[in-house]
Amino acid sequence: MNLEVESVTIEIQSQRIIENVSLRISTGQIVGLVGPNGSGKSTLLRTVYRLLKPKSGYVRLGGDDVWKLSARESALRSGVVVQETPSEFQFTVREVVQMGRIPHKSVLSFDDTHDSELVSESLRRVEMAGFEERLFSTLSGGEKQRVLIARVLAQQPQLLILDEPTNHLDIHHQLEILELVRSLGITTLITLHDLNLASMYCHYLYIMQGGQLVAEGSPETTLSRALIQQVFRVDVVHMRHPVRECLQLIFMPLPVDL
């Protein structure tokens, strides 16, 4: 499902957080949103999953304005893994993943075998099968993150919105989650701090700074030395991944006299 964000401006308590940002994702693409802390990545994602209404501009999902869809219709199209750390509730892993089925269930329907099969299948895909009856609050950070990704898989969205999905994950699970995302073939909008992962997994990048887009394009063209020096305030040497042949970056502090 394609996503269009068109000249979106967002203000929170009359402070401008996002200024005139447009982006476009066509079906099947994995698009990365990168930028330093506080550049507005998460805020921009929040307008896409209808948490924040933009002051001006449009968000269109599959051609429809998301703010004209009902909450449920929108949840049937897009699924989100947010950064919000859930409270210490006593849900089991199965119950957390089961929540992904909420938009699919009408008020009077019961959870059926189709739902529970989807839940088991989703847990298997994130290597969390066997954890069904464990309390979510007793899991490690990485396990929690994988369960939340299983929940969004059970939601069966056509657009996946992932806000820092590799946070708290060890390197094995970082790569595993991103491989999984790639294998799903679902249109994905993802924020990542690790530029090397962004380069390895994203088809297209949007670079944000101070609430504005400063560059867009393939990882090869956008992650130039000049841009990285300007936006991320570090120096960089470009390398090529010996196996994957994608761009990889080696970082170092900027020289003081630069």
Binding site: Q13, R46, Y49, R50, L51, S70, A71, R72, E73, S74, A75, L76, S78, G79, V80, V82, E84, P86, S87, E88, F89, Q90, F91, T92, E95, V96, M99, G100, I102, P103, K105, V107, L108, E133, L135, S137, T138, Q155, I161
Partner: protein, 365 residues
């Protein structure tokens, strides 16, 4: 080696049975059903004039289905069971169940384990209404009976709390709790002032007010059961239909929105549903604290956080608990009575602390 692994396998099968949420749930559900009925019969049978259990059951059956059973009891026994004790015991069931359900919902709404109906000023609002009627003898708010004054006090207070917690059309859970606590304290001051002002020699209105504030089921009549039972029924059905959405709300506002839950609307609906529900029981029972806080946590210890399971169990346990607590209050210093609100906290507090200590996972909602 092989026998060891067979042992392990057998253990996991049994464990899986024990852990199976459905088996556990229905086990607890039916046990509590039986316990509730047993508690009701016990509470009706025990009193200054003891009545045999089978007579209690027979009288109730004969009243519900006239002519089915031969009358073997005295008119006095019938009067004691049907007019004096049964309404009181059933009111205890309704009040206990209602307060517990509201506590469950409010804890989920604000994602705070300390929330209960009284965090949001219901009790203090109802108290001001009731104490006004008692101490001023309806001279100012003429035309209001005590239950109506308490009901309106509860509703107006919750409305005020909700309005004060708003900021730019948005409700923050933190502001909701803080507004509720602040208003509760302010209204408590008003109540205390009214009670102190009324305590003059020759007037017993201060004593009446204090006993109302401690909560009492003693004045229960059949006519008072209609509105609270209707409100419990309607609310429970509506809540069970929204159980999944309540679960999502516990997981966080952002998560709930991303799962298609209209969070602001749901929060407003549930808040007012709860206010009305609590208002109807506070009006007839006074301010009975602690049930709404404690019962939901006890139930979550046993069946987890899923509201599809928590809500039915909370109703049964809350009802049973208040029936037994009221019974203790009636017999412990007989022929006098301890107000049910006092016993609730005195019995519930230590038990809850014990539960808190004995469980590994603590404080989660």
């Amino acid at each position: 080696m092989s026998s060891q692994s067979r042992n392990i396998r057998r253990q996991t099968v049994i464990e899986r049975m024990m852990l199976s949420p459905n088996i556990r749930f229905w086990g607890i559900f039916f046990s509590l059903m039986i316990l509730l009925v047993g508690a009701v019969v016990l509470a009706v049978a025990v009193g200054p004039v003891p009545i045999p259990y089978d007579t209690v059951v027979s009288i109730v059956i004969a009243k519900l289905f006239p002519g089915v059973i031969m009358v073997t009891w005295t008119p006095v026994q019938e009067q004691i069971v049907w007019v004096f004790r049964l309404p009181r015991v059933l009111l205890a069931v309704l009040v206990g169940a209602t307060l517990s359900v509201s506590g469950t919902v409010l804890q989920a709404l604000v994602r705070n384990p300390l929330a209960d109906p009284y965090t949001f000023g219901v009790s203090s609002g109802a108290s001001v209404g009731a104490v006004l009627v008692i101490t001023l003898a309806s001279s100012i708010i003429a035309g209001f009976t005590l239950p109506w004054a308490a009901f309106l006090g509860a509703l107006l207070t919750m409305l005020l709390v909700y309005l004060l917690a708003q900021q730019g059309g948005q409700i923050s859970t933190g502001r909701l709790i803080l507004a509720g606590v602040a208003i509760s304290y302010s209204l408590s001051a008003v109540t205390t002032f009214l009670v102190l002002r009324a305590s003059s020699p020759g007037s017993n209105s201060a004593a009446i007010a204090l006993s109302w504030l401690a909560g009492s089921l003693g004045a229960a009549k059949w006519e008072q059961l209609g509105i609270p039972s209707l409100s419990l029924l309607v609310t429970t059905v509506l809540l069970l239909l929204q159980a999944r959405q309540l679960n999502a709300l516990l997981a966080g506002d952002e998560t709930a929105i991303s799962l298609g839950v209209n969070v602001p609307v749901l929060r407003l609906q549930l808040f007012f549903l709860t206010s009305l529900q609590v208002g109807t029981v506070v009006a007839v029972s006074g301010a009975i604290g602690f049930v709404g806080l404690m019962i939901p946590h006890m139930v979550r210890f046993w069946v987890g956080a899923d509201h599809q399971r928590v809500l039915p169990i909370v109703i049964l346990l809350g009802g049973t608990y208040l029936v037994l607590v009221d019974l203790i209050g009636r017999i412990i210093i007989a022929p006098s009575e301890l107000p049910v609100g006092i016993v609730t906290a005195a019995v519930g507090g230590p038990f809850f602390l014990w539960l808190l200590q004995s469980k590994r996972t603590v404080g989660g909602i």
